[in-house]
Amino acid sequence: MRVFTAVIAIAAGTLVLGGYFLPALAPVQTLLLNWATILAGVAVLVGIFNLVSVHSDKIRRHEKGNAYSALLLMALIVTFLFAMILRPDHIIMKIALSGIIIPVEAALMGLLTISLLYAAIRLLRRRAELMSIVFLITAALLILGSATLPFGNIPVIGTFIRPWITQVLALGGARGILIGVALGALTTGLRVLFGADRPYGGN
């Protein structure tokens, strides 16, 4: 069975990759990608069942934080039922999205801003080294250079240092990091294509 799944995965991967370079394989590639999209949709349902099963277990075993699990399941069921009855594009469903989900995510973003500021303050205590100092000075210069002030940009910092850091130093560094990530992704993909790594069952 393991060999069978590996053969299917390697064949599908090779056909999809080949479709980018050989026009004759393009229809097969499209077909396989469409199947993948459908399977990804089904995976959402499986993911929701997984979420329900994890939180039901927590409630049944009276684990720590089970009240939140109960709240999550109630919200899930109520939202699901309303969406089934009213359809997802109904005004009430849109209000649920824009009135609950978006503000909650915005609140988390606000919380994150505070925790990142606190982390920056603690950085030198956590790791007193040259790169930490460079990191903090760069962050401070960029914040000062981007600040909206009544008299406009701060001379030199806003007009020269900030653009130079973001468009020369940071851009060069970012490209270097992204090239490294791309090479890593390429070799990881090749390992999966060869069947050396099999995240789809069996070892």
Binding site: N50, L108, S115, G184, F194, D197
Partner: protein, 243 residues
């Protein structure tokens, strides 16, 4: 066609280097975060505490799949090593397809350790479908399930800060790597030893996942040198007016 040539040459080199690395021992430079990860695995088994592997919300259907696959390769190794622990590892994902593969990978780890009967399907979880929703769900695992170390590896943006904050509050060992620049910046500022750039893809090789992982690192180095030479050659050619 240039891309096809690069892929074919890379595939050939990976195959050849894998065969070579099976015979000769690997000589890897020290990466402090991965050394700490190796030690943490052993300690968590002795302590009877749990590891949490956060795989992020990288979808396997787009360009972020590479980091997700690297995270799964690490998870496979961690699952095998910690499956016999009193408190086996838990993994969370923010993408449904990644969630399915998380469960499959955990199960494969248990199979490899010969303790398949100990595998619990709910140890691989989908905690949310948006980046912040995922982080909020994973924070709940960190706070409530006797976790001693949080391993963040995959596609993470700034929301990684929330996971780091939750780990700090519980005094956990934290190891982090992301393929996203904003996520890497957050991890660098918040963790003791963050993995930067391609170091994310090196975890398997450092934990002894096999010759193909070590061969990947060698191949990355070869390709990196080619790119450096091409960039320098291009700059020189532009300078002297050839191109």
């Amino acid at each position: 066609m240039n891309e096809l040539i690069v892929i074919l040459v890379s595939a050939f080199l990976l195959f050849a280097i894998t065969l070579w690395k099976r015979k000769s021992p690997a000589n890897l430079r020290e990466i402090p975060a991965l050394t700490r990860l190796y030690r943490t695995l052993g300690l968590s088994i002795e302590d009877g505490t749990r590891l949490h592997v956060s795989l992020g919300n990288g979808s396997l259907l787009d360009a972020r799949g590479g980091s997700a696959l690297a995270g799964l390769a690490l998870l496979r190794h961690i699952a095998e090593r910690t499956s016999v622990s009193d408190k086996p590892s838990v993994a969370s994902a923010g993408d449904p397809t990644l969630g399915l593969l998380t469960q499959d990978t955990l199960q494969a780890g248990y199979q490899a350790a010969g303790v398949q009967e100990l595998y619990v399907p709910t140890s691989g979880r989908v905690t949310g479908l948006s980046p912040f929703g995922y982080a909020a769900g994973a924070m709940s695992i960190l706070q409530n399930e006797n976790i001693s170390a949080n391993i963040i590896i995959g596609h993470f943006g700034p929301e990684a800060g929330l996971l780091i904050e939750a780990s700090d509050r519980e005094n956990m060992v934290l190891i982090g790597a992301s393929d996203e620049l904003s996520g890497q910046a957050v991890l660098f500022a918040n963790t003791q030893d963050a993995l930067i750039g391609e170091e994310l893809f090196a975890a398997g090789a450092y934990l002894g996942a096999g010759a193909s992982h070590i061969a990947s690192l060698t191949l990355q180095d070869i390709l990196r040198w080619f790119l450096i030479l091409a960039l320098l050659g291009g700059a020189a050619a532009k300078l002297i007016g050839v191109i």
